[in-house]
């Protein structure tokens, strides 16, 4: 049985005039110790997916239907007490911006120890010792001194390491990392990712990595979901998705990577923008930006189908594949 099983998850936001659907019938699984990447542009619903797994969607957002089974227990229907027991213990989360994630008026030690005491019957001293061990695991120098420091005394990279240490405090089964390096300097982004990968592997922790960077996903994860306008449009093993993307959107994302462009040439961006959730086009949501779009794409929403090794939601996948093969032959 998989650790996490999401079925038909639909999240809506009740705005003043209308109700917006931010997630539309998302389904996926995460096995124990598996690392899953969720990619897409801003507004695709990646972060909302991450937060809804912890049942952290707050008003005006709400889960409209679907279920999120964690070891068979539905997170959506859980009462507050049970949710509190799971959060930080079985499931931990790493937020995007370490500069605003830690509470500025509490010391690192207070914020680590309170997490342990919220879930385990420990003395303060025992909790302190565990915190020191975990800080050492994320390569924080002189962890004893760090415990008495306030967040503002530490750099962004150091803070994100501490947040990773907090995520690992209670040996969770699943860590949800929401763009954990977006707010950091490029120079330390790779360090943090490497650390996260190392710790997930050595502790056999499942990871859901939310990012817009396909390069990161290819290094970090075993499976990948590509999201667009609140739907999963392509899912499968990361290697297959990177090497042989089926959906035109995924192909566009990969072509847009700087590595795919010769130096001095313009980056190959996908034309246009992600549609706003209040104004999703009929048919396939990607059709206005898609160079292969047909009348069918503009009128009918494509179902998710199994195509080779991956699941993909595209009407024209067969044709694209044939054309792709022909191009390769010509080349």
């Amino acid at each position: 049985m998989s650790l996490l099983s999401v079925r038909d998850l639909t999240v809506k936001f009740a705005m003043r005039d209308e109700t917006v659907t931010a997630l539309n019938g998302i389904s996926f699984d995460v096995a124990k110790g598996e690392r899953l990447g969720i990619v897409g542009e801003s507004g695709a619903g990646k972060s909302i997916t991450g937060f809804s797994l912890m049942n952290l969607i707050s008003r005006p957002g709400y889960v409209d239907r679907g279920e999120i089974l964690l070891d068979g227990e539905d997170v959506v229907k859980m009462n507050d007490k049970r949710l509190r027991q799971l959060r930080g213990d079985k499931m931990a989360m790493i937020f995007q911006d370490p500069m605003v994630t830690l509470n500025p008026v509490l010391t690192i030690g207070q914020q680590m120890i309170e997490t342990l005491l919220a879930h385990r019957k420990l003395s303060r001293e025992e909790a302190r010792q565990i915190a020191i061990v975990k800080l050492r695991e994320v390569y924080i120098p002189s962890p004893e001194d760090r415990l008495d420091q306030y967040p503002h005394e530490l750099s962004g990279g150091m803070r994100q390491r501490i947040i990773i240490a907090i995520a690992l405090l209670l040996d969770p089964e699943l860590i949800i990392a929401d763009e954990p390096t977006t707010a950091l300097d490029v120079t330390i982004q790779a360090d943090i990712m490497e650390l996260l990968l190392e710790l997930c592997q050595s502790n056999k922790v499942g990871l859901i990595l939310i990012t817009h960077d396909l390069g990161v996903v290819s290094q970090m994860t075993e499976r990948t979901l590509v999201m667009y306008a609140g739907r999963i449009i392509e899912a499968g093993r990361t290697r297959e998705i990177i090497n042989d993307p089926q959906h035109p959107y995924t192909q566009g994302l990969i072509n847009a990577l700087p590595q795919q462009t010769l130096p001095g040439h313009k980056l190959r961006q996908i034309p246009g923008n992600m549609p706003s959730l209040t104004n999703i086009p009929p048919g396939c949501p990607f059709n206005p930006r898609c160079e292969y779009a047909t009348d069918l794409c503009r009128s009918k929403l494509p179902e998710v189908i199994q195509y080779g090794e991956v699941q993909v939601a595209c009407h024209e996948v067969e044709r694209l594949h044939a054309e792709g093969a022909r191009q390769e032959q010509n080349a």
Binding site: R84, L86, M93, L106, A118, H152
Partner: protein, 326 residues
């Protein structure tokens, strides 16, 4: 820390200098002090002679320097009416005012935090709406009207509380007589304290609520929820501490303002403090006493603000007092 302290003290001295200058400048514009001193029946020559003796014909600068020099030695002039040093008159009245301000502060601190936190956590309940509605009413009604209404309801209609004076006070030390020892003293201070708190309390409830609601939206509160922390700990440890930082700054200024607000409250309740005294001094054109009052109130203002800034530095870990001095 020490450098910061020195810097703050110098700032405080500069502010006091400006206050003394303004207070002294008022003196010359409050009518002829001789009329108050000697009445109608004295001839013009004698008046002129008295003016010379009192130094009223000297230049503004000479008069100010003389005034400031005396003030530094604790001499703020002699009250025309009481025929005693103005500072002594004020010091006799000061404890009554400070006790009233203390009572009001207790009410404000004791009620604004729970009410502000409650209305922030449960903004949609009927109770929250009632509290927020009442707070608007409280802010809108002037203190003297609130005071008169309270007397009408609680003293005249129900007879629960006395309507004027300090009641049984117990002598503590020097000029200090306290209300907080006898039951009668407590009964007397309750209504005036609530009247004095009637504007600040709703202001603080609203301020704490607004700050708290903002803090509850922050990432670190969401993160605390994601860590599985209990709600009461999130509210009172994670959120409240961040909420109170800006409130402390405003609070310091407001305590000073409350000392000034006592003029209205003390007058309505015939409370023998320095606010009531000030109003009488104005009626009697007792210029030295008016000037002395302004300086003492200014001094209280400056001292409370300095202390509040120091406390803020101690409470907020991101303020480094040592570095701020440099």
């Amino acid at each position: 820390m020490f450098a910061y302290l020195v810097k703050r003290v110098f700032q405080a001295i500069a502010v006091m200098f400006v206050i003394s200058l303004i207070a002294f400048a008022i003196q010359g514009n409050l009518g002829d002090p001789l009329r108050e001193l000697v009445g109608q029946s004295v001839s013009e020559e004698v008046r002129q002679q008295l003016r010379d003796e009192l130094g009223l014909n000297d230049s503004f600068l000479t008069q100010y320097l003389r005034f400031a020099g005396n003030a530094l030695q604790g001499d703020l002039g002699t009250s025309y009416f009481f025929k005693e040093p103005a500072l002594d008159v004020i010091m006799k009245k000061l404890p009554a005012t400070l006790e009233l301000v203390f009572g009001a502060t207790l009410i404000i601190v004791g009620l604004s935090v729970p009410l502000g936190v409650y209305t922030a956590i449960k903004p949609d309940t009927i109770l929250s709406r009632i509290i927020m509605g009442l707070s608007i009413v409280g802010i809108s009604i002037p203190v003297f009207l609130t005071a008169i209404l309270m007397i009408f309801v609680f003293s005249v209609s129900y007879g629960w509380f006395p309507s004027f004076g300090r009641g049984d006070v117990v002598h503590v030390w020097g000029y200090w007589e306290t209300n907080f020892v006898t039951a009668d003293g407590w009964m007397h201070i309750i209504l005036p304290s609530f009247a004095l708190a009637s504007i600040m309390l709703p202001l603080f409830v609203r301020l704490i609520r607004a700050e708290m609601m903002e803090v509850l939206q922050s990432e670190y509160v969401k993160y605390a929820v994601a860590k599985g922390i209990r709600p009461w700990r999130i509210y009172f440890v994670h959120a409240l501490k961040n909420t109170l930082l800006p409130v402390i700054t405003v609070g310091g200024v407001q305590i000073g303002t409350m000392v000034a607000y006592t003029i209205l409250t003390e007058t309505v309740f015939q409370w023998p403090g320095m606010g009531f005294m000030f109003l009488e001094a104005v009626n009697r054109v007792d210029t030295p006493l008016i000037v002395a009052y302004l300086i003492v109130v200014g001094f209280i203002f400056v001292v409370t603000n300095t202390i509040v800034d120091l406390i803020y530095g101690l409470v907020n870990p991101t303020v480094n007092l040592a570095r701020m001095g440099a």
